[in-house]
């Protein structure tokens, strides 16, 4: 088919960018869709022929990603987030308002083709909830009034200015914070290389390349007791040391920037305000495992962030921090940013690699683990944005000094995104091990409107919920585990006394059912069953036996699914139904004290 020169050039670039051609598929589809609004039959064939694929392989991949459309949608695609953080701040009401204002429903397009509406899962704007995206533009802290103004502007052919930086990242520092990896936030043009260099940038890389050996880099990271910030908390240095030194195959570094965990939105500011710190961390990681190519896999929604990081990568190449013979050390490293297209599952490391290879984001059988058989079957390390962004600091101040900022085995600082019913939602850098209660009340400003605290999701919606009386604990990986939950990816969601926990359970399961990849039976069918059941229950059609069954079905999923997504869906559900059982019983009796179940209240 005939392509515009711009798209043709982009295709050429992408097609020749990857070690394996097929990898370009998802980005090519995204850019094609940007131009045409959807992926047409002709485009499917075009992509197939460009990438030596069969059209059905393009269709398979396409169908997996929720941001890709096979049919035309509106010129302005309004995507309202109703996931937990937004829900607590009026996301659902905003969606209702949007439906009325645009006179269309979920996944519908106005007759003139100008607007389409979609209820979306977490878009990584939790600290600016409620939030939405119009195409790639972020709008946060929305009210119906603000919404109408944005729509009016678009109707008139103007584009309301989107938020430049995620709300909650730029605010006054709290005294309890230790800005280490977030220290350049707020500096004007902090994403530019000159500003980065003026503020200590690329010194760690110089040190790593010139004064350290790969082994000593890994040692330093081990000493730092840095644990993966993506959610699982696996020791980063140990992960690096698993990469075989004598492999004849190329090795890869992947930065997992597919931040999708509801409640979590820390990688977004790390990349938009300090992309060079991340790039520096990736190069050092590459040096440590003797990799010469890295990828940043960024979620599709973060397109403006992608553009910022991509520009930063170009700057780094121009200044010799990327490319051949970096800083005269003889070390070569190439870095490429790769866009996802809407799939939570692709945050799972092996699913991410499948996705990066241009396939459906299905997780892989483990073992072998990525360190042995990863991207393109080669040894690969994959780390979260925050983990890799911490590496320059570790190299500069030394592993031990970094470790000492936290608690034993839980080294360093950590970004916490707190959202929900707190006075000061935001992204805070705190030392690991800070008391949770202290954090909520002293850093996050306590509960909004002087209300009482009911529950906390400590680290993203995959984590078991904690009740108000369970939060007097240090926030580190081990203490949270002891308390029966997880530190996860740092996405803390706080719920006040007026929150309906049945509704929370429903919304959490809605998310996992939407994001289940469909590979294994227990997750695919379990999440879908639980979603339907919780929706029914919340709407007032529950049966007494349902309460136990919710927990039981979740337990039947737990530990039996192919990848952790099943556990991620089961764990919070089990915790809610156990800890807040009385609210379920209230629903049975026609009471929802929290007025979230509109159909229920008053109808009985």
């Amino acid at each position: 088919m005939e392509l515009s020169p711009k798209l043709a050039a982009k295709f050429e670039l992408l097609q020749n960018h990857y070690p394996v051609k097929r990898s370009a598929l998802v980005p090519m589809m995204m850019y094609a869709q940007d131009e045409y609004g959807y992926i047409s039959d002709d485009m499917v064939n075009e992509l197939a022929s460009r990438l030596d694929l069969r059209p059905v392989e393009v269709e398979e991949t396409l169908a997996y990603y929720s941001m890709l459309h096979r049919k035309p949608i509106g010129k302005h695609h309004v995507q309202v987030c109703t996931n937990v953080a937004c829900m607590l701040r009026g996301g659902a009401q905003l969606l209702q308002h949007a439906k009325k204002r645009l006179e269309i429903g979920h996944k519908e397009t106005t007759q003139d083709g100008v607007f389409s509406l979609e209820e979306v899962e977490c878009i990584g704007a939790c600290t600016g909830a409620p939030a939405m995206q119009v195409n790639y533009d972020y709008y946060e802290n929305l009210t119906p009034l603000k919404f109408d103004r944005i729509i009016e502007d678009l109707d008139n052919g103007n584009r309301s200015a989107p938020v430049p930086v995620i709300t909650g990242a730029l605010r006054e520092r709290n005294a309890l914070e230790i800005p280490l990896i977030s220290k350049r936030w707020g500096i004007k043009d902090s994403h530019k290389i000159d500003v980065y260099l003026q503020n200590g940038g690329y010194q760690a890389l110089e040190k790593a390349l010139k004064q350290m050996t790969p082994e000593s880099i890994i040692d330093e990271v081990k000493k730092s007791s840095l644990r993966g910030r993506g959610g699982a908390g696996f020791p980063t240095g140990m992960k690096w040391s698993f990469v075989p030194k004598d492999s004849p195959k190329p090795k890869y570094v992947i930065c997992n920037a597919d931040e999708s965990e509801p409640g979590s939105c820390k990688d977004r500011p790390l990349m938009e305000m300090d992309p060079h710190q991340l790039i520096e961390g990736i190069i050092i990681a590459g040096r440590a495992i003797d990799a010469h190519r890295g990828f940043i896999y960024i979620r599709g929604e973060y397109r403006y962030v992608l553009d910022i990081v991509d520009a930063a990568i170009a700057e780094a190449y121009a200044r010799g921090y990327l490319g051949n013979n970096i800083l005269g050390s003889g070390f070569d490293f190439d870095l490429l940013i790769h866009t996802g297209a809407g799939a939570y599952e692709c945050g799972e490391e092996s699913a991410l690699m499948e996705s990066l290879e241009g396939k459906r984001g299905y997780p892989r059988i483990k073992p072998p683990f990525p360190a042995i058989v990863g991207l393109y079957g080669c040894p690969t390390i994959i780390n979260n944005v925050e983990s890799l962004s911490s590496v320059p600091a570790i190299i500069l101040e030394g592993g031990e000094a970094y470790a000492n900022r936290g608690t034993p085995k839980n080294g360093g600082t950590r970004l916490l995104c707190v959202s929900g019913h707190v006075n000061k939602p935001g992204i805070y850098e705190i030392p690991l091990g800070m008391n949770m209660k202290k954090f909520i009340y002293e850093v996050a400003g306590g509960i909004r409107g002087g209300k009482k605290l009911k529950a906390v999701i400590p680290g993203g919606s995959s984590c078991p919920f904690l009740k108000a009386d369970e939060i007097d604990i240090p926030m580190d990986y081990d203490s949270l585990a002891k308390a029966g939950s997880m530190l996860g990816s740092g996405g803390m969601v706080v719920m006040d006394e007026d929150t309906c926990m049945v509704d929370m359970a429903r919304r959490v399961m809605h998310f996992y059912a939407h994001e289940s990849c469909g590979w294994c039976i227990p997750c695919r069918e379990g999440t879908s069953w639980l979603r339907k059941m919780l929706e029914r229950f919340h709407a007032g059609f529950g049966r007494p036996e349902d309460i136990d069954m919710v927990g039981e079905l979740a337990k039947n999923m737990l530990g039996r699914t192919f990848c952790p997504l099943g556990d991620a869906a089961a764990m919070p559900t089990i915790s809610i139904v156990t800890k807040f059982r009385s609210e379920f019983e209230d629903h049975l009796h026609g009471r929802c004290a929290y007025k979230s179940a509109e159909a229920l209240v008053g109808s009985r």
């Binding site: 059988i365 994001e515 039976i521 069918e525």
Partner: protein
């Protein structure tokens, strides 16, 4: 081969020893312990998606999938604990949430793996009260229907289509609980229509257009026989109700093809009930053929044959055998030609030069043939000419499986661009018709070939010389002396080199082995091989002629000139294949044909006997790799008789007239007993055959002083069938003919 290390483990308290690398699920099967699974399918990539095979393993905190867990020394596995049973029960409960409980109207009912699993491991009632996801059924082709709600997403179909067939006509669409299987044509399939996806589907999600809603599995008889179409000899299990064949598959995974069948093996049985089937003997009276009684037809045939033989001598009668009838029938036909009529005017449509291969191999023939299993096991395969995907589907399947499972290296030497090239380590493309020249160059370095080509051939030779145990597989592109070149080249390669000639039709190889050749006796012995000839003379109580007869094309020519007076054709269509159609029967005074349909040849016959198809008789056939297998009578079409019966009847009629000896065999098995004695290499153990196995022949051959074989150009002619054609027979396979792909493909 290096010794494989053995691993000791304990399963449910029982010790078992398995080779290193064995999966726990396979280890349990060794002990006869069932670990249920949907997605695990031997030979296809691992999935661990259905989670049905979760087992308890000591020292592992979570349940493990037995289908991905490799057995390790000292491992202790338990497959029947409460935890495991619960996991299975609740997995099935999850699976049934969106699965419709429409077993009473589902084709799969009674042979459904999900049904079986639920009976064995499931709960007796469902707790699911929510709305199920529903989608309408889709028709993807005349042969394949998809019912999404029944689909349990085990992805077997997707994998077999991609990995097994290298077609990739199926994909996965949508996500999560909405996931579905999608066809490559958007709303339809554009594929090889092999039906593997239907066959492999554990539930009723993919159903067959020809079988659906016809019957229930328990109402049918199952008869294992050999596919009558190409020469690969796939076992096909015919599902029969009231003598009518309703379905073909090979679900019992027996035979040389395991579960593989192509479109012909799976759907190409409907010719049996084609309305144009001849069901009465036909006799020419003037311009037209009229149905007559069996007595009238048989007596007329014997009388006229006898008269012509008496008047013009043995050389005036010719016989053309079939590459689709059984070994027994071909054996009897050549016995009739040689012993009853005293002529060597006997031949068949030769699609591969088996005689050439045996002759070139000489006394090595017995040990150098390549079975289908050996083809799969080969470390390296050189394929010369042919297009297995179209012409020899099982050969293609075996090669792909070898590549997939143990990195078989495939080398191609071909003038055509064939699909297998996608999987080849090296493809050497030669100009049209130059395969033989390239082989000659490989063997001798002789011949003028373009420099580019010789460079490639040099690389090819080097690559093959670096391999052990190369399989050399070739089509009709090589015949006569060039096979000699190939053998010369092959014998210089290290290790054991094995050979397979690729012919067409179910019993091409058998026909040649049985001596349906004008210059060879059964087992390829030369006519002047006194020992063999005398043995046969004693066996048949007759005097044999040592004068070579006419080849099939020569017979058609002789019919034009009038030197041949009578032609007796069994299951062949020589007037379409050897003469230009306009040639016709020429000056033949008598043309007798055994046929199922009024082919070009049958239309011109004086007497036509209605023949039973391969699916309607017993006997044996030999596939292109020289493996004998038994045919079993599955269906019955009123009014037809097997060629075995027809030849027997004729022999009795002739004996009455004083010509030759009547055949006193009661069954084809009795003929096979004689073949075991009379045909060197066919003395195989019957136990293997009787239990449904394939027995490789070991042709014992002596050159007996003859020069290496040569054949006239054009004598060996491939039928060039594709996936959807099958010579004259294919025209009567209505379903196959109606497929859009049948027209699209060459």
């Amino acid at each position: 081969m290096a010794e494989t290390k053995l691993i000791n483990l304990k399963i449910n308290g029982r010790d078992v020893q398995v080779p290193q690398g064995t999966l726990v699920i396979e280890a349990t099967r060794r002990l006869g312990i069932e670990v249920p699974s949907f997605c695990y399918y031997p030979g296809l990539s691992l999935q661990a998606a259905c989670r049905m095979c979760l087992v308890e393993v000591e020292k592992m905190p979570k349940l493990q999938t037995a289908c991905t867990l490799v057995a390790s020394e000292g491992m202790v596995v338990r497959t029947n604990t409460d935890q495991v049973r619960n996991a299975r029960k609740y997995m099935l409960e999850f699976l049934l949430t969106n699965h419709p409980l429409d077993c009473p109207v589902c084709d799969k009912g009674g042979e459904c793996e999900l049904q079986d699993m639920v009976f064995r491991y499931g709960a007796d009632s469902s707790r699911f009260v929510e709305e199920k996801i529903h989608r309408p059924e889709e028709k993807w082709s005349d042969l394949v229907y998809y019912d999404a709600p029944r689909c349990i997403l085990c992805f077997r179909c997707v994998r077999v289509c991609d990995e097994g067939m290298d077609v990739k006509a199926l994909g996965v669409g949508m996500r999560g609980a909405n996931s579905i299987i999608i066809p490559n044509g958007g709303d339809h399939l554009d594929c090889e229509e092999c039906g593997m996806c239907i066959d492999i589907c554990p539930v009723g999600a993919l159903t067959s257009g020809t079988y659906r809603y016809k019957t229930r599995p328990w109402e049918m008889q199952y008869v294992s026989t050999i596919c009558t179409h190409c020469s690969n000899g796939c076992k096909t299990t015919l599902s029969v109700r009231n003598h009518e064949i309703l379905r073909a598959n090979n679900r019992d995974l027996s035979g040389i093809n395991n579960d593989f069948l192509c479109v012909k093996g799976r759907f190409g049985f409907d010719f049996t009930k084609h309305p144009e089937r001849i069901k009465q003997p036909l006799l020419r009276k003037g311009e037209k053929l009229y149905p007559v009684s069996w007595e009238e037809a048989a007596q007329a045939a014997a009388k006229q044959l006898n008269e012509l033989h008496a008047a013009y001598g043995p050389e005036s009668v010719g016989f053309i055998g079939s590459n689709r009838t059984s070994n027994e029938e071909n054996y009897l036909l050549q016995r009739m030609a040689r012993a009853t009529f005293g002529t060597n005017n006997i031949d068949h449509h030769r699609t591969a030069d088996y005689a050439g291969l045996v002759t070139a191999l000489g006394d090595r023939a017995a040990d150098s043939s390549l079975t289908m299993e050996q083809l799969y096991q080969s470390k390296a395969v050189l394929l010369i000419g042919n297009d297995p995907t179209n012409q020899n589907p099982l050969v293609g399947w075996q090669i792909r499986a070898g590549i997939r499972h143990h990195d078989t290296k495939l080398f191609l030497l071909n003038s055509r661009e064939i699909k297998l090239a996608r999987k080849a380590t090296q493809s050497v493309q030669v100009p049209t018709g130059q395969e033989a020249a390239a082989v000659r160059w490989l063997a001798t370095g002789e011949g003028e070939l373009p420099h580019e080509l010789t460079e490639q051939l040099t690389a090819l030779r080097a690559a093959l010389e670096a391999e052990q145990d190369v399989a050399l597989v070739f089509g009709s592109e090589l015949a006569g002396a060039t096979i000699g070149h190939l053998v010369a080249f092959g014998s210089k390669l290290p290790g054991t080199t094995r050979y397979m000639a690729l012919g067409d039709y179910a019993n091409s190889r058998g026909a040649a082995d049985m001596g349906v050749l004008p210059d060879r006796l059964p087992g390829y012995a030369y006519l002047d091989n006194k020992t063999v000839a005398e043995a046969l003379e004693n066996l048949w109580d007759a005097k044999l002629s040592a004068k070579p007869g006419l080849t099939a094309p020569q017979m058609v020519e002789a019919a034009q000139s009038g030197t041949l007076k009578a032609l007796y054709v069994v299951g062949a269509n020589p007037l379409a294949h050897f003469g230009t159609l306009g040639f016709g029967r020429g000056k033949l005074q008598l043309l007798i044909v055994h046929e199922m349909f009024l082919t070009e040849t049958a239309k011109q016959a004086d007497i036509v006997f209605p023949a039973a198809s391969a699916y309607e008789k017993d006997g044996s056939v030999t596939n292109t790799s020289g493996q004998i297998q038994l045919l079993h009578k599955a269906g019955e079409v009123m009014g037809t008789r097997s060629d075995f019966d027809l030849l027997r009847i004729l022999s009795h009629q002739l004996e009455k007239l004083g010509l030759g000896k009547a055949f006193h065999y009661k069954t084809p098995a009795a003929v096979f007993e004689e073949i075991r004695k009379a045909v060197p290499g066919y003395n195989v153990h019957p136990a293997g055959l009787l239990t449904g196995g394939a027995e490789p022949t070991k042709i014992q051959f002596s050159r007996n002083g003859h020069e290496p074989y040569n054949v006239p150009v054009q004598l060996i002619r491939s039928a060039n069938d594709n996936l959807f054609t099958s010579g004259s027979l294919g025209r009567f396979c209505t379903m196959m003919q109606s497929l859009p792909e049948a027209e699209a493909k060459p």
